[in-house]
Every structure is written in C-alpha cells, then in structure tokens.
C-alpha cells in the first residue's frame, strides 16, 4: 500500500500548527513547543523528499540487486537539522528558566520590559 502524499500533508499541518502556536499562545514554554513543531514539520518534509516507495536503505555494500534506494542526502540534512534543533530548543528553554527566575512568570504579557 502506498501512502501517497500523506507525509507532505502532515508536514504542512505540523508547520501550520507550529506557526499558530507561536503567534497566539502566551506561555513561553508553549512558544518553544510551537518553534519545535515547525522544526518537526520541516524535518518530516525533508525526510519525505528522499523517500521512494518500497526503497531500501542507501548502502551500496551487499545491496540487493535491482532495488530502489531512498535518497541519502535528505537524511543527512535531517540529521544535521535535528542536531541544530536540539541546540536551539535547549537554549530557548534555558532562557525561559532564567526568565522565570527573574520575572516570576512565563506569561508574555508580564515579560515585556523591552518595548518601543
């Protein structure tokens, strides 16, 4: 059974939910979750780009004859992107921890001394 374009639809939905969360939620942790959702959507999109129906892993040694392989490059891109995502999420969350320590709140309406 082929899954068709379903992964692309899911990726688009993830990005859309992520951007919605980022724009309309007021808790800093939820903003981080929004950014993280966009990231997941983009990663899913990249992996899906390289997928070929019924493809095998792209390893040439001992590969079965006449088999399709999935593309290796998008997988490498996704791995890099996941590592970068880990760093950015960790940095964002540590900022949130320190903001909570200083302001006693994670509400964006209370954390807004920098304006104008």
């Amino acid at each position: 059974m082929s899954i068709g374009n379903l992964p692309f639809v899911v990726a688009a939905l993830l990005v859309a939910f992520g951007i919605y969360t980022f724009l309309f939620k007021r808790n800093l942790i939820k903003l981080v979750i929004g950014v993280s959702l966009v990231e997941t959507g983009v990663n899913l999109f990249l992996v899906t780009l390289g997928y070929r129906t019924a493809g095998v892993a792209p390893i040439y040694t001992f590969a079965p004859e006449a088999q399709r392989m999935v593309l290796p490059t998008p997988q490498a891109l996704t791995l890099t992107s996941i590592v970068i995502g880990l760093a950015t999420t960790a940095l964002l969350l540590s900022f949130a921890v320190f903001i909570h320590r200083h302001y006693g709140s994670l509400d964006v309406r209370k954390v807004k001394e920098l304006q104008g």
């Binding site: 990005v15 980022f22 800093l28 903003l31 981080v32 950014v35 966009v38 990231e39 983009v42 999109f45 990249l46 780009l49 593309l71 490059t73 998008p74 891109l77 890099t80 992107s81 970068i84 760093a87 950015t88 940095l91 964002l92 900022f95 949130a96 320190f98 903001i99 200083h102 302001y103 954390v111 807004k112 001394e113 920098l114 104008g116």
Partner: protein, 520 residues
C-alpha cells in the same frame, strides 16, 4: 604564501572555530594568556581575510573555487573509478571577499575593545568563545557555495549571537531579549531550511551554482524565494520584521552590538546572493526590486522615527542601525529593479548600497563602542540622566561626533560617500525615493544632535569616572580613521573593492555558475 592564499577561504572559518573551542581551556591559565590568545587569533583571522581579499581583488573580483579536501578538483573519484560531482565547496567572488573584509574589520576592533571592557566585569571567557564562534559562522555564510551549508552557518550565527546576548544570566532584560531573538532567529532559519528543501526536491542539488543553472522559475521556486526573502529579511532586521533588533543590539555587551550588526549584514549578503546569483533572470526581477525598495523605505523611515523617541542610548543607536539596513536595501533594490535593462544608474545604486555596508559597519561600530565608553563613565543608559561628559572626555566626544556625522551622511565622512551614490541613483528611478532617503538622513542628524546635547553638553557632573583606558581608545580611533579615510578618498575604494563586489552581483552570475559546472 601562495599555499596560504589558496587555503584562505577555509582557514577563515577554521581558525576562529578552533579558537572558539580553545578559549575556555586557555582561559584557565589566566586573563593574560586568554587575552593574548584571543588577540592573536583575531589578528591572524584579519590577516587571512586581508590576503583573501587581496587575491580576489587582484584578479578584479573574478570568482574562485575552494573544494574541501579536493586535490583532484571538483569531481570526486570513488575507488571504483566512478566520478561524482558532489563536493563541499566554498566559492569566493568580489562580493564574498568584500563582506569578509567588513567582518574582519568589525571583529578585530571589537576583540581589542573587549580586552579593557571585560577587565572590569566577569564573563569574559564565555564572551570570547561565543564571539569567535559567531565570527566563524559569519565567515561561513559569506564564503559558502552551498545552500545547505549556508543554513548551517546561519544557525551557528543565530545560536552564538543569542548566547552572546543572553550569557549574562544575572541581567533580567538580557534574558528577555535572548529568548525573543532566539525564537525569531530559529523561525527564520527554519524558513530558509524549508526553502532549501523545496529547491532540493525539485532539482536534486544543493550547490548554488548548480541550482542557479537548473532553476526554471516555477511556482514552487517562487514559494521558496518568498520563504528565503522572509527568513533573511527577518534576520537582517528589515522593517516590519525588525522587532528583535533593538532588543538584541541594546541588551548585548557594547563590543558585541557592533558584531551583531555585521551578523545582520551577512544575512543581507545572503539575500543579495540569492536574488542575484541564485535566481537572477529566471524570475521577474523588477517586481522583486520594487518589493525590496518598499521594504527599504519602510526600514529607513521607521528606524529613524523610532530612534528619535528613544531615551536609552543603546536602543537609540540600535534603531539607527536598523535604519541603515534600509539604505543598503534601497541601493541594491534600485539596482535589482532595473537589472534587466542594466542602465548606468542601476550599477551606481548597487555600488552605493554595497559601499554603505562597509561604511555602516565602521561608523555604527564606532558609535556602539563609544556608547560602551559613555555607559561605563556614567553608569546609566538613560540620556536624561547624563550630561557634561565633554568636560572630561574630550576625545570620546570628538569620536562620537565623527561617528554620528558619518552615519547621518554629512561630508566629508564615509557615510556621505555611499549615501550620495544611493541618492543620485534612486533619484533617477523615482525622485520620491531620494526624498525619503535624504529626509531620513536629516532626521538622523537631529537624533544625534539630541544625543550629543544630552550626553556631552551641560554642567560638569559630580563623581564622574572620567579616564578612558587606552585599550578602548585605540579601537575607536582605528574605526574613526577608517571613517575619515573612506570619506576623503571614496573614489579609490569604490574602484578597488566596491566595483568588483557590485560586478560580482550585477554581471557575475554566469561566471559564478561556469566556475563550478565548467563550460558555461
């Protein structure tokens, strides 16, 4: 020497990167060892950038290719004999070398200013490590010839820059700024990554030269361009996506604000590279040029008017820095709008926009460093609480005037040289553009008259920490010399370095592609 010149592109990324990870270890040996190490790395990096620029401008800005680990050129022969044209490449043309010069100038002066700055505070080792990481990332963005590597370096600069804004966790506002900037930088990076994915999905390549030759201008290409434009305009701080910029520039330590401006300019470089080299004539450039011009006018106007109402000296300079991004966009936007017909004034506009990047880096850098000195002396950032600094800080006030006049485009300083090119060319396209640009420059002068009056004039205050350490003075004087020399001899510099850079964008697309793909 030739080996050094040949390997200059990768050394520019490798030296600061190694330095970044070595600094925390060497910092254990004490402040003297750390500072000498940082100074050494900064000097070597600047020297290599100078060598690279000398070799690129020596061949009049023609692009050069550096293949990582590539003795046999671009093709990569496998043991089986099959040759795969996939390599990690750096491609350096006039524009890249020009940007590398700007980055080297800013990071060198910021590093040397920092030695005195961190003598009085804690946190220096972290600062230097992140500063070098940021330097490596900026050089990477400017020199890479690959879209995905561009994204990776973009993320390195994002993380390092936000680390630099927020590493002083005991300051509450720096945490707020750090969170805000990091969230927006991440989003901008993801937009770029999504666009890279869209391009890869269609053409199966990540190499800028290869993508440029394969692009057809399909709807998906336009979507990718829209994502890249949004992402990079956000990271460059163009209005209406500028809300992070005053927080970032304002809350970062003073020497860091100058480097953050260089970071924004690197994103702007990425935008120009994508518009001219990657997409070029495959899309309707006139419409895009007008979008850029609209962004530019908004950025100039909003930046200047917001600067006018600030009472915090660093936020005020930050908003002026935002407005200067608009002038660069205006110059290049005018060039892009007419780049099909290629009239002379279009090239002049490009020269103006590109020259202004260098001039802005020098004079806004000088102003940020001077603001660091002012805040150090008065202990406040509020303009209403300052006054009378000119009594005891004569040299700082002179340097501040030089920076402010240059930024506002008053002759004979460098800001005038580049802004004049922009005014002239924008006027040929539409007088309205030039009017907005000139009026905003005059408003900017008013902004700095206000700062000067508030901070330097007035009665001599009590208990002022007056002496400025030599280590802070020298970098400021160096930047002021750049401002004056570029203002007095603009013709020489426009000929030698700005024209090759503008050429690389304006005419260089085919040369850029054929260098990698061969033939052409």
């Amino acid at each position: 020497m030739t080996a050094l010149t040949n390997h200059a592109p990768v050394l520019l990324i490798a030296i600061p990167l190694l330095g970044a990870f070595a600094v925390p270890l060497i910092g254990k040996l004490g402040r003297g060892a750390r500072d000498s190490f940082v100074g050494l790395i900064a000097l070597i990096t600047a020297a290599v950038a100078g060598l690279l620029a000398a070799s690129v401008f020596g061949r009049a800005g023609a692009p050069g290719l550096y293949v990582l680990g590539g003795h046999q050129g671009f093709a990569f022969p496998l043991p089986s004999g099959m040759s795969v044209p996939i390599r990690i490449i750096l491609e350096v043309d006039g524009m890249s070398a020009f940007m590398a010069l700007i980055t080297a100038l800013v990071t060198l002066t910021a590093s040397f200013f920092s030695f005195s700055y961190w003598k009085e505070r804690s946190g220096g080792t972290m600062f230097y490590a992140l500063l070098m990481l940021l330097t490596a990332g900026i050089f990477g963005m400017e020199l890479t010839g690959d879209m995905f590597n561009f994204f990776v370096f973009l993320e390195i600069t994002s993380i390092a820059a936000c680390g630099l804004i927020g590493f002083r966790v005991w300051l509450r506002n720096s945490q707020e700024a750090g969170f805000k900037v990091m969230a927006l930088y991440t989003l901008s990076g993801l937009f770029v990554l999504l666009a890279v994915g869209l391009l890869y999905g269609q053409y199966g390549g990540l190499n800028i030269a290869y993508l440029a030759s394969a692009l057809t201008g399909s709807t998906i290409d336009i979507v990718a361009l829209g994502l890249l434009l949004t992402g990079l305009a956000l990271k460059a701080g163009a209005v209406p996506l500028h809300m992070w910029a005053p927080d970032a520039y304002g809350e970062a330590p003073a020497p860091m604000s100058a480097v953050l401006v260089a970071n924004s300019q690197a994103s702007l470089y990425g935008l120009f590279r994508i518009l001219f080299t990657l997409f070029g004539v495959t899309i309707s450039v006139a419409a895009l040029g007008w979008i850029l011009i609209a962004l530019a006018l908004l950025t100039i106007f909003v930046g200047v008017t917001m600067a006018l109402i600030q009472n915090d000296i660093k936020r005020l300079i930050a908003y002026s820095a935002v407005s200067q991004i608009g002038y660069m966009l205006l110059g290049v936007g005018v060039g892009l709008a007419v780049s099909v017909a290629k009239p002379d004034f279009g090239f002049v506009a490009m020269q103006g926009g590109i020259f202004h990047m260098l001039n802005d880096a020098a004079c806004i850098g000088l102003l940020f460093l001077a603001s660091g000195v002012i805040i150090r002396a008065t202990g406040t950032r509020d303009l209403n609480k300052m006054g009378g600094l000119a009594h005891s800080m004569k040299w700082t006030s002179v340097l501040f005037i030089i920076g402010a006049f240059a930024l506002a485009g008053v002759p004979p300083f460098n800001g005038f040289a580049s802004k004049f090119l922009i005014y002239e060319a924008a006027f040929k396209l539409s007088p309205f553009l030039a009017v907005v640009a000139v009026l905003s420059s005059i408003l900017l002068l008013a902004v700095f008259v206000k700062v000067f009056q508030a901070a330097f004039l007035g009665a001599k205050p009590e208990g002022l920490q007056s002496e400025v350490p030599m280590g802070m003075m020298v970098p400021m004087v160096a930047l002021a010399l750049v401002v004056i020399v570029f203002g007095l001899f603009p013709g020489f510099f426009v000929d030698k370095i700005v024209t090759p850079a503008a050429n690389a964008l304006w005419y260089g697309r085919d040369a850029y592609m054929s260098l990698v793909l061969g033939g052409g």
